[in-house]
């Protein structure tokens, strides 16, 4: 079993989900090669080489890979992947963008967002917004898989000493070009990695009222999330959305404020260890999954909670 893991990074730092993907890889086999494709990403390759369990790091450093456009990176991964039994990537927006293109180039089906490894060819993954768990077996020569971070504990980012090998021969497919990006700025922990998440829904009323949640989150060292209703109403940017179509989180503590608890939202947070719901509607479905529920006006409760902590 030799496994190729595609690292997630921004050319400067290695992204957390890669460590969870390495954990999944270690459950499959011991020979783990990590590909870092980017531009001026030697620092990332160095960081990957320190991670526990990594056998070798391949560094493909070229302008063609600067923004990890799948038109350029997928042929690279597919060509390398032919020699491996498994190709894994985190189920991040990058991983989801890239890996199906790789799978099709290899003419195999992909398995998306696995949450557990049953054996080297059998995996579990949620379907129907997490309302069913499918056990899927792959007979593909190369098993192409994306890994849901919340299903696996991260491997330590230290303890390894893998050699780094530079790859040459990059080509730009010339099909696509990066134009620009707008990244949301925040000092709070990253949503998918946070130990505590405070989320607001339609009940917040408007974007300004999210300041109540920011104060609470800062007190707890938490990240702030949102339901689709809050995003669609323009209260907060879409990268804060938790749910089937947004981010999947599984923190120690998830505090849902003014969120009814639709199926699509639950899909993104119901694996949280402890769920707290604050809602004025006693019948809200969120109370069916909440460990602790508090019925009442969030505009009274949240500030009080912040001051009590």
């Amino acid at each position: 079993m030799s496994i190729l893991v595609v690292a997630e990074h921004d050319n400067r730092t290695l992204a957390g989900p890669t460590l969870h993907t390495l954990a999944a890889a270690r459950q499959i086999g011991a020979d783990i090669v990590v590909l870092v494709a980017g531009l001026d990403a030697a620092g990332v390759a160095f960081a990957v080489a320190q991670c526990t369990g990594v056998t070798k790091v391949l560094l493909a450093d070229d302008a063609a890979y600067a923004h990890q456009l799948p038109e350029n990176v997928a042929p690279l991964v597919a060509n390398l992947g032919r020699d491996f039994s498994h190709v894994l990537a985190p189920a991040t927006s990058n991983g989801k963008n890239l890996l199906p293109r790789v799978a099709a180039l290899l003419d195999v089906d992909q398995i998306s967002e696995i949450i557990s490894v049953e054996s080297a060819d059998t995996f579990k993954r949620p379907i129907y917004a997490g309302n069913a768990i499918a056990t899927v077996q792959s007979s593909a020569a190369v098993k192409v898989i994306t890994v849901r971070s919340t299903g696996f504990e991260a491997v330590p980012a230290e303890g390894g000493r893998a050699p780094i090998e530079a790859l040459g021969g990059a080509t730009d497919a010339g099909l696509s070009a990066f134009v620009g990006e707008e990244l949301a700025k925040s000092n709070r922990p990253e949503l998918t990695a946070a130990k505590i998440v405070v989320s607001g829904g339609r009940g917040m009323g408007n974007g300004d009222n999210f300041s109540h949640l920011y104060s609470l989150a800062d007190k707890l060292g938490a990240a702030v999330g949102a339901s689709r209703a809050a995003v669609d109403a323009g209260f907060v940017p879409n990268d804060m959305q938790v749910g089937q179509t947004g981010k999947i989180v599984a923190p120690q503590l998830y505090i849902a404020v003014g969120i009814s608890g639709a199926i699509q939202h639950l899909a993104g947070m119901k694996d949280s260890k402890v769920i707290v719901a604050i809602n004025k509607d006693e019948e809200a479905p969120i109370f069916q999954v909440a460990d602790y529920g508090l019925v009442g006006d969030l505009f009274e409760i949240v500030p009080k909670l912040t001051s009590t902590l």
Partner: protein
């Protein structure tokens, strides 16, 4: 330009599905079915491109059972010009669907193919990317804005940290995110008119496509149930429980 839109018939998004007692799958007998919400957004985007004079013809295609004709008629009522059903068994893998769509793309030669980013049943998020690989076209996935600029397509994509814009050569593949647009409703006159629009049925064999899959579902189970906890009376009680009982703060 000609625009091809792929749609899927799935269980309605409001339905709470149940796993079959024999763990062979999800019980879809007598369950309300509908067009996948992301596919509705794809149809709407194509119709808007036509209204702007960018798209000249909208062909909508589905790969699946005969019953998917219902969803194709819905798409026609929303503004698509004609429909193609690639008739096949249900539970196709994303790669099989991508291969069938590739054959339709070869035949129809659209400049733009729009798909939803994922189907809410299989939650795969694969088909658009796979179709892009098979056709060799550029891909603009998770699109929240699509603009035709000369012979390029500017796509604003939703990524983990925010938004990213890419310029794609045409022909291209785009998959829709929820915020791309707000789909319209089909009016009764349009539903009546849609009945007269052409709907062609083809078989995978006629397209020369094999729908074999390298994936096999061994079983489907209900997730571990999460039971309701307790309701606390006050903020003080909540904090006390979180500190001493749950020990999470």
């Amino acid at each position: 330009m000609k625009v091809l839109v792929a749609i899927k018939r799935v269980v309605d998004y409001n339905v709470k599905v149940r796993v079959k007692a024999d763990n062979s799958g999800v019980d879809l007998a007598n369950v309300k079915m509908a067009m996948n919400p992301f596919c509705e957004i794809a149809v709407e985007e194509a119709v808007r491109l036509k209204e702007k004079g960018v798209a000249s013809e909208i062909v909508v295609v589905s790969v699946g059972q005969t019953s998917a004709q219902e969803q194709l008629r819905t798409a026609l009522a929303l503004g698509a010009d004609r429909a193609i059903l690639v008739e096949a068994a249900d539970e196709l893998s994303s790669l099989a669907v991508a291969k069938a769509l590739k054959a339709v793309v070869d035949k129809e030669q659209p400049q733009l193919v729009i798909l939803g980013k994922q189907a809410i049943d299989s939650d795969n998020n694969q088909t658009g990317q796979m179709l892009a690989a098979l056709t060799g076209y550029a891909q603009g996935t998770f699109a929240s804005k699509v603009e035709v600029a000369g012979d390029k397509l500017n796509v604003t994509r939703e990524i983990d940290g925010g938004l990213q814009t890419v310029a794609l050569n045409l022909p291209a593949i785009v998959t829709t995110d929820l915020r791309l647009n707000e789909p319209r409703y089909a009016s009764l006159p349009n539903i009546m008119k849609a009945k007269k629009k052409p709907l062609e049925t083809v078989t995978p064999d006629a397209l020369g496509v094999s729908l074999a899959s390298t994936n096999k579902t061994l079983k489907v189970e209900a997730p571990a149930a999460r039971s309701a906890g307790i309701k606390v009376k006050s903020v003080a009680e909540l904090v006390e429980k979180l500190k001493n009982e749950a020990k999470v703060i």
